[in-house]
């Protein structure tokens, strides 16, 4: 008998994990290029758009429960210190105040390695106490009554000061993460450098960027008996459930996590948040529903961020452009905690090169913990690598696109395995064509003009193949309406629509007859976090299997009613048709005859193929205008060509591409968290001072897919879409600026003052 449980590799956010997977009951033929599909691949409207345009979509902050209390958080105003006095009593005595949390009240609960409310201040704006009251206003006002005394301690807010000889201890065991330096190496770097005709050495710097989701982190918790329901703005309901259950020593079945709609995640909402722990604890203590939602300053200062990096890069090549050596030495300040996202992976994976060495040093600093942020690691790495590639191209007097083509990687060299599919060449060709790359490159420059134009490009790769475990149930109701149930999340990505399209395709149903239900741990089967661009490729195959099972049951029932065999039946637009007799029945007619019989199909996601890298690829091209007097950069247009396997819904997928490019544009030109150098306090914690792109900043965007199903990756042929588009934007823009001015950029964001300094120099 075949084994029921096997292991497989799954890559998420650049990390590869081994997962146990239960083999699905069936393994359908992959939908290849020639598959005749009617709903999958169609530009269907977003299925939850109606709720969103009418204001009816219920986000976490919109949950209002009878008797609900509100939490306000007291935050630290130094970057490091010890709390010597913390007395809530004067605050608790205020009318309308119902309770609070202070040092020692969440013993044993940690977030990013930090014990909550532990009496130590590790970074500015860290929450040190919570007040819970009848209204938010009362709670906020009562915060001022808290008696607090803090003994400030020396702090280190950047990598350089944390690594200095006389640096204060940021963490008891030292200021670098124990994995540092994390080194990867293949071939012989020295030999590669000796082999080269041209070698360039450069340093690149990237800023701390803030997710700035419009809906902040937040949760509402309500206990009933010994069970708690938590509404949380989260990318992972099951992760959140596990975190809460562990923290409060509850069985998983006593925690229900709900997330219907969320106002953006971008990587920062992957488990129980500080707000959730606080709301659950206070709700248990006070036996009332409790809401804890970060205010904007809390969100901008204490809700995760993209790490800054310093990347020292060496690229070496022969005269013909063949790369002979790549070396990276990167320093990455994490803040007080986080995980080790890797800028190095771009360097070791993007191009063919026999001799590669990367080294990453992860540093703890007295700043808020980092979090995954849309393509963590690759975004930062791409800026360094792709900027350096253009410098190399200049040294070689070669078209930057040609240099990239000459170093095309035909397999995953780091782990010596094949790609399930790779159509980056197609992205280069079609992207360059639609951009008019050759024409734009050869255009004559007017060196005397105040405004210079330039063009640049960059390559993209990202492990977006998804994987198990993921489960789905498809139910056909007595009236023929269909529900797809899966514990995934729709962050605004379109997962609801995509899952319904897959189910409708298999069932031969009208899309409007299908509804996807997501985001409830109590009622839905497991699906993993919606992160790493994995949801379509992870959950989609499970939905397909569940829908096939449901379709088979439906056909069996219908066959009896139509006096034929199930294999004589086909369905389209919610109607079952017998090929032999031309008789047909609507789904509704079949189901009404079945009475209260509920047709239920179960599906799960099978293992990934062994020894195979599942990647999405892309190429981005940008044209900019630079005012040489002010240093102001305006992006005129971006062309973005992507290989993400089959595209289930081109409209929604293009929306994600545009969104990624626009976030990338902000990263390239505006976005940078700024801390006061002396005190370590945040200086731009508002949406006015931390600048994200507005509608007026958006260039002409032509974003598209080569749309070739990846039948090796999984049987839907789809891979991830969300993260790749942000990877290439900053380097493409920086390269365009270099093309315009002949001046290397080296550091983002490319603000007018930064660029004006370089032009002047």
């Amino acid at each position: 008998m075949a084994k029921r449980f096997v292991t497989t590799k799954v890559e998420v956010e650049g990390r590869e994990e081994t997962k146990v997977v239960e083999l699905p009951t069936r393994d359908p033929e992959p939908w290849g290029n020639d598959a005749s599909l009617h709903v999958v691949g169609r530009r269907e409207k977003r299925m939850d758009a109606l709720e969103k345009v009418t204001g009816e979509a219920e986000y976490t902050a919109d949950v209002q429960l009878p008797g609900m209390l509100y939490v306000a958080l007291k935050r630290a105003n130094v970057a490091a210190g010890r709390i010597t006095t913390l007395d809530l009593a004067p605050a608790l005595a205020q009318p309308g105040v119902r309770g609070g949390l202070a040092t020692g009240d969440l013993q044993g609960i940690k977030l990013d390695g930090i014990q909550l409310f532990d009496g130590t201040i590790h970074y500015a704006n860290q929450p040190i106490a919570a007040i819970c009251a009848d209204t938010l206003e009362i709670a906020e006002r009562a915060l001022r009554e808290i008696r607090v005394e803090v003994e400030p301690m020396p702090h280190a807010i950047d990598a350089a000061s944390a690594l200095a000889d006389d640096a204060p201890r940021v963490k008891p065991h030292g200021n670098t993460h124990r994995a540092s330096p994390r080194v990867t190496s293949r071939g012989d770097l020295e030999a590669g450098l000796r082999d080269a005709d041209v070698t360039i050495v450069r340093e690149y710097r990237t800023p701390v960027a803030l997710h700035t989701a419009l809906e902040p982190h937040g949760a509402v918790a309500a206990w009933s008996g010994d069970r708690v329901t938590v509404w949380e703005s989260t990318q992972g309901i099951f992760n959140t459930r596990a975190d809460i259950a562990e923290a409060f020593e509850l069985p998983l079945s006593s925690v229900r996590v709900v997330k219907n709609y969320m106002g953006g995640g971008f990587g920062a909402k992957n488990g129980a948040s500080f707000a959730a722990y606080t709301a659950v604890a206070l709700s248990r203590k006070l036996r009332r529903p409790v809401r804890c939602i970060f205010d904007r300053e809390g969100e901008q200062t204490d809700a995760g961020n993209r790490t800054a990096t310093v990347q020292r890069v060496t690229l070496a090549a022969r005269r013909d452009g063949t790369l002979t050596a790549i070396s990276l030495d990167a320093t990455i300040p994490l803040g007080i905690g986080g995980w080790l996202s890797s800028p190095a992976r771009m360097y070791s994976e993007m191009y063919r090169c026999a001799n590669v060495r990367t080294s990453e040093t992860f540093v703890f600093t007295n700043t808020a913990p980092m979090a995954s942020f849309r393509a963590p690691g690759n975004v930062e790495g791409a800026f360094g690598l792709e900027s350096a590639m253009d410098v190399l191209a200049r040294e070689l007097d070669m078209d930057p696109l040609e240099l990239r083509r000459r170093n095309y990687a035909d397999h995953d060299q780091e782990r010596n395995r094949r790609y399930s599919a790779k159509h980056l060449d197609e992205c280069y060709t079609r992207g360059a064509e639609r951009f008019g790359w050759s024409r734009a490159r050869s255009r004559k420059r007017n060196e005397d003009a105040r405004v210079h134009r330039g063009v640049g490009m960059a390559s993209i790769c990202w492990g977006a193949g998804g994987g198990p475990p993921a489960y789905a149930t498809v139910r056909i109701n007595g009236d023929g309406s269909i529900e797809v149930l899966t514990g995934a999340q729709d962050l605004g990505t379109g997962a609801r629509t995509v899952m319904a399209q897959i189910a409708a395709e298999v069932l031969g149903a009208k899309l409007e007859d299908v509804r996807t239900v997501l985001g409830d741990t109590e009622r839905l089967p497991f699906a993993s976090n919606s992160w790493g661009s994995i949801t379509t490729a992870s959950v989609g195959p499970a939905v397909r299997v569940a829908a096939e099972e449901a379709r088979d049951a439906l056909f069996e029932a219908a066959a009896g009613m139509l006096d034929t065999q199930p294999d004589d039946l086909e369905s389209r637009d919610s109607e079952i048709h017998a090929k032999s007799s031309d008789r047909c029945l609507l789904f509704r007619e079949v189901c009404e005859k079945l009475g209260d019989v509920m047709i239920i199909g179960q599906g799960s996601r099978g293992p990934n193929p062994d020894g195979t890298a599942l990647y999405a690829f892309g190429a981005q091209f940008a044209e900019v205008e630079v005012d040489v007097e002010t240093g102001r950069v305006r992006v005129l247009r971006v062309v973005s060509a992507h290989d993400s396997g089959r595209i289930v819904n081109p409209t929604l997928a293009e929306s994600q591409l545009e969104g990624g490019i626009i976030q990338g544009l902000g990263y390239a030109l505006f976005e940078e968290r700024i801390l006061d150098a002396r005190m370590g306090l945040p200086l731009n914690p508002t949406m006015h001072d931390y600048k994200i792109p507005t509608i007026a900043d958006v260039p002409e965007i032509d974003a598209f897919f080569v749309d070739i199903p990846d039948t090796v990756a999984n049987h839907t042929g789809a891979k991830g879409v969300a993260e790749p588009p942000i990877i290439g934007t900053a380097p493409a823009i920086a390269n365009a600026v270099m093309d315009a001015l002949g001046v290397e950029v080296g550091e983002i964001p490319i603000t007018p003052w930064r660029l004006a300094g370089r032009i002047g120099a």
Binding site: A49, K52, V53, T54, L214, G263, E658, M687, H688, I695
Partner: protein, 154 residues
């Protein structure tokens, strides 16, 4: 004091310092209007006061006594979406949807002032409404389409 919200009259006993956003969300349970920055920087809380767009986070409820307030909940009439809402759906001018109510009301106000906007007018008119998902290109298309549609039906 009396607020006329989406055509219905409400007696509200809001203190003088209460902002309209709080009154709408917490007293009238109209949660379609979103709190994002709370200080007039993002536009997510945009409502119409006597037809003009206003950041409800910077508007005192006390200043709205007797005035007509339109929120996202009141835009559709008799189950029929407003043309701007319809255009947002048609053109996929939203992703997570959190900024959408504010975007739509800003667009309604813009088209009221400027029934025939150019693309530049739309970019300027909508630049006070931030969207982090980056639905901007499709918001531009949706607003222009709503303007054209109004012409076609007009």
């Amino acid at each position: 004091m009396r607020l006329i919200v989406n055509g219905a009259s409400h007696e509200v006993a809001a203190p003088d310092h209460e902002r309209l956003l709080t009154t709408l969300r917490e007293r009238l349970h109209l949660t379609g209007t979103k709190l994002v920055c709370g200080r007039g920087e993002c536009g997510a809380c945009t409502v119409l006061v006597d037809g003009a767009p206003a950041y409800s986070c910077l508007t005192l409820t006390a200043a709205c006594d007797g005035r007509e307030i339109a929120t996202i909940e009141g835009l559709a009439r008799d189950g029929e979406l407003h043309p701007v809402q319809q255009a947002f759906v048609e053109h996929d001018a939203l992703q997570c949807g959190f900024c959408t109510p504010g975007q739509i009301l800003a667009a309604v106000a813009l088209l009221d002032r400027q029934p025939h906007p150019t693309e530049d007018d739309v970019r300027r008119g909508m630049s006070g409404n931030l969207c982090r998902c980056g639905a901007y290109p499709k918001i531009v298309r949706a607003v222009l389409a709503a303007a054209e549609g109004a012409d076609a039906h007009g």
